[in-house]
Symmetry: C2
Subunit: 305 residues, 2 copies
Amino acid sequence: MILVTGAAGFIGSKVTKQFIAAGYKTITIDNLSTGLLENIPKDTIFIEGSCGNKSTIEKLNDYPIAGIIHIAGQSSGEVSFEDPQYDLESNTLSTLLLLDFAKKRNIKRFVFASTMSVYGDVSKLPVEESTIPEPKSFYACGKLASESYLRVYAGLGIETYSLRLFNVYGPGQNLENLKQGMLSIYLAQALHNDEIIVKGSGDRFRDFVYIDDVVEAFKIAYFNSYQGFDIFNVCNGYPITVDSMIAKIFKNLNYTKPVTFSNNTLGDQNGIYGSNEKIMTNLGWIPKVNFEDGLQSMIEWGLSK
Amino acid sequence: MILVTGAAGFIGSKVTKQFIAAGYKTITIDNLSTGLLENIPKDTIFIEGSCGNKSTIEKLNDYPIAGIIHIAGQSSGEVSFEDPQYDLESNTLSTLLLLDFAKKRNIKRFVFASTMSVYGDVSKLPVEESTIPEPKSFYACGKLASESYLRVYAGLGIETYSLRLFNVYGPGQNLENLKQGMLSIYLAQALHNDEIIVKGSGDRFRDFVYIDDVVEAFKIAYFNSYQGFDIFNVCNGYPITVDSMIAKIFKNLNYTKPVTFSNNTLGDQNGIYGSNEKIMTNLGWIPKVNFEDGLQSMIEWGLSK
């Protein structure tokens, strides 16, 4: 049985489904703070609660868990400024408690959903895993601290991988939450609002990676044979600016709406894209969906809702 | 008024005394978990409690605090493996709550006691501040996470410095605690036990820095004019092996005792020494006490107790 935390969320839901499709039993923990009950796949055992809460983790003792994929967490850099302590519990203490559980139960495999946010603003692009992280948001601090714990527990005998996800997008992403997910925020506004409000400049750029490719990365990482701790960027390897993304959305929708620019959100990065050489070389992962195709799929899905 | 946390401890006590001597009013928070009440300087306002506890931090609201030096924390790498969650509260949540307090109160100056442990095992010596940290203990994880928070709060307008202390030693160090402080552990055994038990090999080496020099580093850092966030190694810049340290202790004491080697403690580093070029160049700090002189002072003090 595989524990996938956060199965009510966009990524956790899809990762869980894939393991079910591959014949595995799954269990999840989710506090439904931003995730949706309807996202949790049927046949998945569901424990409602926060992974940063010891009593929730103790409920896992009843199940024969063979490996852990930890995806749950407060996932908005912007929101992390509202309650840094909650973010620490959600994104760091949760990992610590789950690693502690894994050690006690002799669970040897642990894959963690980290983020490109840990890099902060970098001068040398594309950013490689060997770059010194300089997080700009509490969200990024919490994820980076979790990586430190993964490294320590690797020294205690657990095989731990951290996947630094870049901007994940695709069908199934929450179009109601306007504080999380760059592409989903603009698409939601393009579909439902009178205008698009961009918090920050249109010159900013990101590296978008399609949900199916991300799901595949978790699968490959989970089944790969390894020892110790390692970190991998999960990204397409090229930048898309905010301006061009919005232009592509309009082109796909065949209409335009006014675009207003306001101030950056706190802790926002200027521009970043990653090198995916390490994950391609070491794990054999290849991103299959380019931005144009992925965007089209997402928009078709958004229109059909 | 300056808040110096951890004034019941070895370093916090001496740092507080120096600010008092310079004419400043001081206040401290200490939970007396390893520190001693008798260490807290007279004239210092003392709040008993943990800095990782919100209700303790709220007690600070009654005082006109102009700057913060955060030294309190669980300070043993070895002990951090016994209760990682306590360590996270003690070494990370404490910093987050104090930074949050500083922001709310518009306190602009924050100096943090970090550690060379954040580096883990490094291949290139002497280690510079630009080296990627790879902590091996929960203690080091907690300190490194605190540094991330310092960086984020610097973005919110607080001037923050992190001093990465190497092996601090000198008169006043706790000779009863055999889980914290390398030199003090061996000296305590040499003075009071039938033998010296070394956990780990005699080839390991460390960079020892004398307490008075460390106190001076905090003073210089606190009064230096700067903006944003920065990190400085505080070290003498050369390695001393465990074997040579014990030999020097015996030479000073004019007797020897049997030395037994046992297994390393968890998360112990193999060998490390630092570059102090950055703090010397940027802050004008110079270590004044070499290891031989410092050791002699410490032994004289140990014998006089």
